[in-house]
């Protein structure tokens, strides 16, 4: 039997909410797919579009940017800036023909371990039928 495709997801998680949320999922022993490579950033607003493009370039099948809910940002307004910027990145990636499912954004607070696992579960489920991301991947 052929092995099932396991997507590789790079998740940029903000230190104050989403990263703590993923930690919450961990310490609560919730189960979720092991396809995520978490990268802690100080704020979702600090995620440069270049990080996202480079993640795809270096072989990510999907990229997730996750931050605090609007109004909860540790830096007051970082996630509002992120929301605008990520929107443009999303539109641009769709415009050049990348599957829109491959790039997602979510709000996960430090208490939402369950939501985090759900986001990852859904993301993996959506990525599986798409197969490996080859469009922006660097040639080996």
């Amino acid at each position: 039997m052929a092995e099932e495709f396991e997507p590789k997801i790079v998740a940029f998680l903000c230190k104050w909410c989403s990263s703590a949320g993923s930690d919450m999922a961990g310490v609560s022993r919730m189960e979720y797919p092991p396809n995520v490579i978490p990268i802690q950033v100080m704020c979702s607003g600090s995620v440069s579009p270049l990080y996202i493009f480079t993640a795809f370039n270096k072989g990510a099948d999907g990229v997730l940017v996750s931050g605090c809910h609007p109004g909860d940002c540790h830096y007051i307004k970082g996630n509002y800036y992120a929301r605008r910027r990520i929107y443009f990145v999303k539109k641009l990636l769709e415009f050049i023909g990348l599957e829109p499912e491959r790039f997602q954004m979510s709000w996960v607070s430090a208490a939402e371990g369950t939501k985090y696992t759900q986001v990852i579960k859904d993301f993996v489920k959506e990525l599986k039928p798409l197969g490996p991301q080859a469009k922006l991947r660097r040639n080996p």
Binding site: R84, K90, L92, N139
Partner: protein
């Protein structure tokens, strides 16, 4: 209403009185019909100034260079620099003012209105003339009059205008000290028509289109060099911030983050052009210089135009009209759309 001769008279006066350091404008190039940028330092040289449909360049780029030059001088000449601008160029200046890159008192803006027309597209002209060399191009009412070696030919304006001019909604300067020509806003049915054509394609078709286009890129960075908005001292594609000295170890060099490789490979080209497009979101004023300068004719304008469309439709943001407006990416509203977020 002033015309171009009045503008020249004003330029002569300014240079005679020493009110401006020099003037950046358009002159006739070596081939006798195409305009090139000229730098005018004396009142006598003002005669060289021309204004015709071949004045395609965005002279705002030279203001960026001027700022750099001034920063290097010990005792810089503080007088303003005169610059001749079209509608799109003036919007580039507005964005530079908005970002506080240049000061208003450092420039003297001589605006010219494109009046119902715009500038011509070299490629379209070459195709129309089929090998014949033009000698002079004039605009008469709604037709271009082109003098060639075997007589005059006429074409309707729409057939020769650059794509961006056909989609331009404000073909007059928004910022000027003196204006030649009339401020006429022309009606455009589909300001984003060319982008919508690509959007209408399916996802895989779009991918094939961009793959074919961006595969051609040889990474000469002409698009970056010609862009008035690409003024960073250090560009993300040139990793120059690691000072390599005799005692820099191989490990240090290896650990330097290389976001983008310099090789002109498809995947790297995508990252470069996507980053450039994002960096120009809410800043690109669609002067079309990147596309004109591209030696491989990549339709770079579409990437920028797409983001311009999104900015307008979703955030109601129009680029380059108000120097006091906060820049698109460094501002936000509480009710920005967030339905794409889980």
């Amino acid at each position: 209403m002033a015309n171009f001769e009045d503008l020249k008279e004003e330029a002569r006066k300014l240079l005679r009185e020493g009110k401006i350091k020099y003037l950046i404008g358009y002159g006739t190039g070596g081939n006798g019909w195409q305009a090139i940028p000229v730098f005018i330092k004396t009142p006598e040289d003002v005669e060289k100034l021309v204004w015709d449909p071949t004045c395609v360049h965005n002279l705002a780029r030279f203001l960026v260079d001027e700022k750099r030059r001034k920063a290097r001088q010990k005792q810089p000449d503080k007088r303003p620099v005169g610059v001749v601008v079209k509608g799109c160029d003036s919007r580039a200046i507005v964005v530079l003012l908005q970002e506080k890159f240049i000061d208003r008192q450092d420039i003297y803006v001589l605006g010219v209105s494109c009046e119902k027309a715009g500038v011509i597209d070299d490629h379209k002209l070459a195709r129309k003339l089929g090998g014949k060399k033009p000698k002079k191009i004039e605009l008469a009412a709604d037709r271009f009059l082109i003098t060639t070696a075997d007589g005059k030919v006429e074409f309707p304006v729409e057939e020769l205008l650059a794509e961006r001019c056909l989609e331009c909604q404000a073909n007059f300067p928004v910022l000027y000290d003196i204006l030649a020509g009339e401020k006429t806003r022309k009606a455009v049915d589909k300001p984003f028509g060319s982008v919508e054509k690509i959007e209408a394609l399916g996802q895989e078709e779009r991918w094939r289109f961009w793959k074919e286009q961006l595969d051609k890129c040889i990474r000469c960075y002409a698009c970056r060099s010609v862009c008035p908005m690409c003024y960073c001292d250090e560009c993300v594609v040139d990793s120059i911030n690691l000072a390599v000295t005799a005692d820099t170890t191989a490990e240090e060099k290896a650990h330097k983050v290389k976001w983008i490789q310099r090789s002109a490979e498809s995947s790297e080209n995508f990252v470069y052009h996507l980053v450039r497009a994002i960096h120009l979101a809410g800043r690109c004023i669609d002067c079309g210089e990147c596309e004109r300068a591209c030696p491989l004719d990549i339709p770079l304008r579409f990437l920028n135009k797409k983001l311009e469309k999104e900015a307008k439709e979703l955030f109601g943001y129009e680029v380059g009209f108000d120097p006091a407006q906060p820049p698109l990416i460094s501002s936000f509203k509480d009710d920005d759309p967030g339905d794409f977020i889980r």
